[in-house]
C-alpha cells in the first residue's frame, strides 16, 4: 500500500479510471502540458494523449458546457475548474443545464459529469481563490456535491463520482492537498456517495464537519480531552442525515463546523435537520462555527476568518457547559 497525499490519491484515481474506461476524459485550463494549477493532473497528458487530456482555452462556461455535451453523448468527462471562485462564469451551465437535464428530459438524457474544483481557504490566496461555495450547489436540485478530507477518501469518492450517472461537483480542499499523507490502497475501490465517515467515536458531543475543517476539528477534539464523536460528512449532497441523527441522538449535543459563511451555510441545513429529528434528545442548541458573512479576506486575516481548533474548542466548551 502506498502512502500518498491528497493530490497523489486523486491523480491515481484518475489514472485508474482512465485505464479502465476509455469514455473517461479530462479537460481544463493548463491541465495537460502544465499538469494543472495544483499539478493534480501531472503526467496524465503524456500518458493518455492530448485527445483525452485536453488543454482548453480559458473559458469556464465553455468548458462546462462542452463537458455537458460530452456527458449527454455518453462519455464521462472530468473537467477541472482551477479555483472555486472561477465557477462563477460556469454557474449557468452547471445549474441551468447539468443539474436539470435529467429532469428536463424526463430521464431521456443524463449528465454523468464530474467537475473537479479546488476549494476553500488556508493557502494565503485572496478572494475567489479561497471561497467555500458548496451550499450553493447543494441547494441546486440535480447536483451531487462531494468533498473529501483525506487521501483515502479522496480516491474512493472520486472513483464513485466518475462512475456516478449524475453530475457531481467534486470539491478538493486545497489547504490539505499536501498537508499529510496516509495509506491509500493501490487497487481501485469506491466509497459510497451520500455516506458519512465517523472519524472518531465519542459520547459527550457530536461534531459534524467536512473538507479541510475536519482536520481542525480533530485538533480541537484532541485539545479538549473530551469524549467527542466527529462525523465527516464527505458528501454535502445527498448528505448522510442518518449518521448525524444516530450520533446526536446518542450525545445530545452537536457542533457543526464549516469554512463557508454562517448564513445559509450548509450547517444551517444540518442544524435544522437535527432539530427536526433529534429535538427530544438535545441537551443544548446546535452550535455552528463557520466563516463570517463577509467576503473571504486576504491572507493577513485569513486565519481569523477560517474556523480553527481554538474556535471549535470554545464551541465544544460552551456546548458542553450549556
Amino acid at each position: 500500500m502506498a502512502t500518498l497525499n491528497l493530490v497523489q490519491a486523486i491523480n491515481l484515481a484518475l489514472i485508474q479510471e482512465m485505464e479502465k474506461d476509455d469514455r473517461v476524459l479530462l479537460m481544463g485550463e493548463d491541465i495537460g502540458l502544465n499538469g494543472g494549477v495544483f499539478r493534480v493532473t501531472e503526467g496524465l497528458q503524456a500518458r493518455f494523449g492530448k485527445e483525452r487530456v485536453v488543454d482548453t482555452p480559458l473559458a469556464e462556461s465553455g468548458i462546462i458546457g462542452t463537458a455537458i455535451g460530452l456527458a449527454m453523448a455518453g462519455l464521462r468527462p472530468i473537467p477541472e475548474i482551477q479555483f472555486e471562485g472561477f465557477l462563477g462564469p460556469a454557474y449557468d451551465q452547471i445549474c441551468s443545464h447539468a443539474a436539470r437535464m435529467r429532469s428536463r428530459t424526463r430521464g431521456a438524457f443524463t449528465v454523468p459529469l464530474t467537475i473537479r474544483v479546488p476549494v476553500g481557504g488556508g493557502i494565503h490566496a485572496p478572494e475567489l481563490h479561497s471561497d467555500s461555495p458548496e451550499a450553493i450547489y447543494a441547494h441546486t436540485p440535480g447536483l451531487k456535491v462531494v468533498m473529501p478530507s483525506s487521501p483515502y477518501d479522496a480516491k474512493g469518492l472520486l472513483i464513485s463520482a466518475i462512475r456516478d450517472p449524475d453530475p457531481v461537483i467534486y470539491f478538493e480542499p486545497k489547504r490539505i492537498y499536501r498537508a499529510f499523507r496516509e495509506e491509500v490502497p493501490e487497487d481501485e475501490y469506491t466509497l459510497p456517495i451520500g455516506k458519512a465517515r465517523t472519524v472518531s467515536e465519542g459520547n459527550e458531543l457530536t461534531i459534524v464537519s467536512w473538507g479541510a475543517s475536519v482536520v481542525q476539528c480533530m485538533q480541537a477534539i484532541e485539545n479538549s480531552g473530551r469524549d467527542i464523536e466527529l462525523i465527516d460528512l464527505r458528501t454535502i449532497y445527498p448528505f448522510d442525515i442518518d449518521a448525524v441523527e444516530a450520533s446526536v441522538s446518542k450525545t445530545g449535543r452537536c457542533v457543526v463546523v464549516h469554512e463557508a459563511p454562517l448564513t445559509c451555510g450548509f450547517g444551517a441545513e444540518i442544524s435544522a435537520r437535527i432539530m427536526e429529528r433529534c429535538f427530544l434528545h438535545l441537551e443544548a442548541p446546535v452550535q455552528r462555527v463557520a466563516g463570517f458573512d463577509t467576503t473571504m479576506p486576504y491572507y493577513k486575516l485569513e486565519l481569523d476568518y477560517l474556523p480553527d481548533a481554538a474556535r471549535v474548542g470554545r464551541a465544544i466548551e460552551d456546548c458542553l457547559a450549556y
Partner: protein, 424 residues
C-alpha cells in the same frame, strides 16, 4: 500595407480586408422579400460604422521621439515598474506576499505608454496582472506594495491583495481576478463617460474608458458580450488586449482561433482594430494617443492587439515548461526599457550617468515601498466585518455564539442570533 509611423498624422485605416470600409454594401442589392428585412440586408442602418477596419502598426519602427521630459518620465516609470516587480518577487520568496503574484516584467511599455495617452480623468480597468497599471496610473509604490503585503496602508486596506489594485483618485477601477470579467466593466465605464458627458451634461464627449485584458481572456464569453455591446451602442471603449502570447501556460495558437490575427474578432463586432508593437513605449504612446483621440472625437470603440511578452512566468509558481529559454532570451534582448534607453542616449537626451542616477532613485523608491509595507500594521480583526454594505449590518458572526468573535463579554449559556442589533 503598412502605414509609416514617422508620417504620424490622421488616422489612416489601412485595412487588411480586400474590400475596406463598405458597410453592408455587398448586401445592398440583396432582395428583401415581402417588405420585411429582419436581417438588415437592404438597409444601411449605421452608415458611419466601418465594419471593423484593421490597421497594423509596424514593429521595430523608428518612432518619433517625444519631448525629453515625457520621454524621461516613460523611462522612469518603466524602470519603477520593473524594480518594483523585482522587489515583489523577492518579497514573495520571503513569504511576505500571500497567495499569488503576477509580475509585469517585460510588459512595462504597455501600461506606461497607454496611460500617457490617456487623460487623468479617463477611467481605466484591468485584470490581475495589475501592478504596472497601478504604478503607471500614479498609485504610490508604497500603497501598491502594502496591498500585496496585506497591510492596512494598501490601496484596498490590505484586504484585496495583488490582483485587486484600486485607485479612485487616479480613476483606476481595478485590478480584477476573474479572467475577462473586467471587459464588460470597462464597457460600462465607457457607457458612463458617454452618458454623463453627452446626455447628462449635454455636451461633447470628454472622456474615454480603457480596458485591458490578456490574450487568454479573448476566449471568455464576457469579452465577447462586452465587445458586442461596445460595438452596438457605439461606446468610447478602448479595449486593449495585452497579447503576450500565453494564457497562463497555453500558447495563443493552442487556445485561440485566429490567434495570429486576433483583430478578426473585433471585425465581427464592427469595432476598428489595431495591431501595435507593445515592446516599444514610443510605439505604444504614439499609436494609443492617436487611437484615444480618435475614439474621443468619434465616440466609438476601438480594439488593440498589443503585441508584448512577459519575461517571467504566469505567476510565481510557474515553471514555464510550455516555452523555451531561447524564446525568452529572444524577447529579453528586445527589452522595452533597453530600447528607450538606447534611443535617449542616441539622441543625447540621457547620458549613462543620468540613467544610473535615475536607477538609484527608483531602486530606493522600490526598497522604500518594502520597508514601508513591512512596518505597516496588518488589518485589525474588526476589518473582517467592514465594507460589506454601505450601512453596516452585523454581526456577520462566524459562529452561532457571537462572543466567539472575541471582545464581547462572555456570558454563561447561549444567545441565539435573532436580533442583530443586540449582537456585539
Amino acid at each position: 500595407m503598412l502605414d509609416s509611423p514617422a508620417a504620424g498624422g490622421g488616422l489612416v485605416m489601412n485595412t487588411l480586408m480586400s474590400s475596406p470600409a463598405q458597410p453592408a454594401s455587398s448586401h445592398a442589392s440583396s432582395p428583401v422579400s415581402g417588405g420585411f428585412d429582419v436581417h438588415g440586408l437592404g438597409i444601411d442602418a449605421r452608415p458611419d460604422t466601418a465594419p471593423g477596419a484593421v490597421r497594423v502598426s509596424p514593429t521595430n519602427g523608428q518612432w518619433p521621439m517625444v519631448e525629453p521630459g515625457l520621454a524621461l518620465q516613460f523611462l522612469r516609470k518603466m524602470v519603477l515598474v520593473r524594480e518594483f516587480e523585482v522587489r515583489c518577487m523577492q518579497a514573495y520568496q520571503d513569504k511576505k506576499i500571500g497567495g499569488f503574484c503576477h509580475v509585469y516584467i517585460g510588459q512595462e511599455a504597455v501600461a506606461v505608454g497607454c496611460n500617457a495617452a490617456l487623460r487623468p480623468d479617463d477611467p481605466m480597468v484591468t485584470a490581475y496582472r495589475d501592478h504596472g497599471h497601478a504604478l503607471a496610473r500614479g498609485m504610490s509604490a508604497r500603497a501598491c506594495m502594502a496591498e500585496m503585503f496585506g497591510k492596512v496602508d494598501g490601496c484596498a486596506k490590505g484586504k484585496g491583495g495583488s490582483m485587486h489594485m484600486f485607485d479612485r483618485a487616479n480613476n483606476l477601477f481595478g485590478g480584477h481576478g476573474i479572467v475577462g470579467a473586467q471587459v464588460p466593466l470597462g464597457v460600462g465605464l465607457a457607457f458612463a463617460c458617454k452618458y454623463e458627458d453627452e446626455v447628462m451634461a449635454g455636451g461633447a464627449l470628454k472622456r474615454v474608458a480603457m480596458s485591458f485584458l490578456g490574450d487568454g481572456a479573448l476566449n471568455q464569453g464576457s469579452f465577447h458580450e462586452g465587445m458586442n455591446l461596445a460595438g452596438l451602442l457605439d461606446l468610447p471603449a478602448i479595449i486593449v488586449c495585452e497579447n503576450n502570447g500565453y494564457s497562463m501556460g497555453t500558447a495563443i495558437s493552442r487556445g485561440t482561433t485566429m490567434g495570429h490575427q486576433i483583430t478578426a474578432k473585433a471585425q465581427a463586432y464592427g469595432i476598428d482594430a489595431y495591431e501595435v508593437d507593445g515592446m516599444d513605449v514610443l510605439s505604444v504612446y504614439h499609436e494609443m494617443h492617436r487611437i484615444v483621440e480618435h475614439c474621443r472625437a468619434t465616440s466609438r470603440p476601438a480594439f488593440v492587439d498589443m503585441r508584448t511578452y512577459r519575461y517571467k512566468g504566469h505567476s510565481m509558481s510557474d515553471p514555464r515548461k510550455y516555452r523555451t529559454r531561447e524564446e525568452e532570451a529572444h524577447y529579453e534582448a528586445d527589452d522595452p526599457i533597453g530600447r528607450l534607453k538606447a534611443r535617449l542616449e542616441e539622441e543625447g537626451i540621457l547620458a549613462e550617468a543620468g540613467f544610473k542616477a535615475m536607477l538609484k532613485e527608483v531602486r530606493a523608491e522600490a526598497k522604500d515601498s518594502v520597508e514601508f509595507s513591512d512596518a505597516s500594521p496588518a488589518p485589525d480583526l474588526a476589518e473582517l466585518h467592514t465594507d460589506v454594505f454601505v450601512e453596516p449590518w452585523g454581526p456577520y458572526t462566524g459562529s452561532s455564539d457571537p462572543k466567539m468573535l472575541g471582545g464581547a463579554p462572555r456570558v454563561p449559556g447561549f444567545r441565539a442570533i435573532s436580533n442583530p442589533e443586540t449582537q456585539l
